[in-house]
């Protein structure tokens, strides 16, 4: 394998690493893998945390090492970078579809709550079950840092929203 093939092979292996709090999506689909560098036998994987205090980060790092070592890569270096900051815009279309399938509304693209607060305006979240936008925020903080709790007034279902970050 040349280094480009190796890189692609490693990226496909990393798709086996799931976010423990969102087991339907992998870390590549979430946009957490910023790059894979290959130098002979030495692999460097650059990861960026979705949240500053993401408690799943350690778990994910351990999983990356485990998956790569199982595939025969013994020299794995993990680098955690904060810049540029992770954005929910980096979540792939495929991962968005999987989130929706599991009843989690995918994040809106573009303007974040922080921007809206300073500039004014509001966000409108569509229900992942019936697509209605007649929904209401019940709690901005849910079972994990990345999700908020909503309620749909059309199909009367509570649902989670993956916050725009």
């Amino acid at each position: 394998m040349d280094s480009v093939e190796k890189q692609e092979h490693i990226l496909s292996l990393l798709q086996e690493v799931k976010d423990p709090e969102l087991p339907m999506v992998d870390i590549v689909g979430l946009g957490m893998v910023r790059s894979v560098e290959v130098a002979d036998d030495f692999i460097t994987v650059v990861l960026t945390p979705t949240y500053m205090g993401c408690p799943a980060m350690k778990h994910i790092e351990d999983d990356v090492r485990r998956v790569l070592q199982a595939a025969g890569f013994d020299h794995v270096n993990l680098k955690k970078v904060y810049a540029p900051a992770w954005s929910s815009d980096w979540i792939s279309e495929d991962a968005r579809a999987k989130l929706k399938e599991m009843g989690i509304a995918p994040p809106l693209a573009g303007q974040t709550t922080a921007q809206l607060l300073i500039q004014g305006g509001s966000d409108n979240i569509a229900c992942p079950f019936c697509d209605a936008t007649n929904t209401e925020l019940r709690s901005a903080f849910g079972s994990t840092s990345c999700k908020a709790l909503y309620y749909c007034h059309e199909c009367h279902q509570p649902f989670e929203y993956f916050k725009c970050h």
Partner: protein
């Protein structure tokens, strides 16, 4: 990149980033005291989430501070093995959590400041500080919205909730002045493009705070006296007690791993 930061700037930037980390570490600890004591389940979860965000931000900032200092101190060394007078956090964040109205009012006043601060710091010439700030800016957006909603609910709620919120705002107002102070070393960092101009954040902060006070029926306090000195290590008697609780395990078993 950290290593590209001008050597002359480094000591001042270390102090600056350390102070930012201390604010979030201490506030995160105060918020964690609510865990299991929130007035309703959703709020218990929300306050724990806010606490986690603060600790995550503190961890990133203190790690960066340790790198800028270049003396080999990790984020844990800085958090657990410094004494009270070495801490640079604002007195506002170390005040006891009080009742729910006090906690909400403090979050609202501090987070609104934090939002405007991180908005500016995204442009810092230190790439890591800019990245942490871009991430934190988005997180704090949710904090401000949460706090502002509760300000309106409590201020425009019952007679008791209104009274408690007004009392809280009155009590902590004198601690808000120094959020917008800067010393000579800060001014040099602003000049060089590394730090945010704190004084310049004040007009927008006042505008956002006044708008929510108006919705909540809260009367803006008029105080002639403002507290200061936090950045020089002056604190209320409350910080020592907080640190004793926060640091005891790490100090009793230094280097322990689990």
């Amino acid at each position: 990149m950290t290593k590209e930061t001008d050597a002359k700037i480094r000591p001042a930037l270390f102090e600056y980033v350390l102070a930012l980390g201390d604010d979030r570490l201490v506030l995160g600890h105060r918020l964690s005291e609510w865990c299991g004591h929130g007035p309703i389940l959703e709020e218990d979860i929300a306050l724990a989430n806010l606490s986690l965000d603060c600790l995550g931000q503190a961890s990133g900032l203190l790690k960066l501070a340790g790198e800028l200092e270049g003396a080999g101190r990790s984020e844990d060394d800085l958090a657990y093995f410094r004494d009270e007078t070495d801490f640079k956090n604002f007195k506002l964040v170390e005040l006891p959590r009080g009742d729910f109205a006090f906690t909400i009012a403090r979050q609202f006043l501090f987070d609104t400041y934090s939002l405007l601060l991180f908005e500016q710091l995204q442009k810092s010439r230190n790439e890591t500080l800019a990245g942490i700030s871009a991430k934190s800016f988005k997180e704090v957006g949710y904090h401000v919205r949460h706090a502002a909603e509760w300000m309106r609910r409590l201020g425009d709620g019952t007679e008791e909730s209104h009274r408690r919120l007004q009392d809280a705002v009155d009590e902590m107002w004198r601690y808000t002045g120094e959020l917008f102070d800067a010393d000579e070393s800060d001014a040099a960092l602003v000049e060089a493009g590394y730090a945010a101009d704190a004084a310049a954040l004040k007009p927008k902060w006042e505008e956002m705070v006044t708008a929510v006070f108006k919705d909540s029926g809260i009367v803006p306090p008029e105080t002639a006296y403002f507290e200061g000195g936090s950045r020089q290590g002056q604190h209320t008697e409350h910080l020592g007690h907080l640190l004793a609780e926060m640091q005891i395990v790490a100090r009793s078993f230094p280097g322990a791993k689990w």
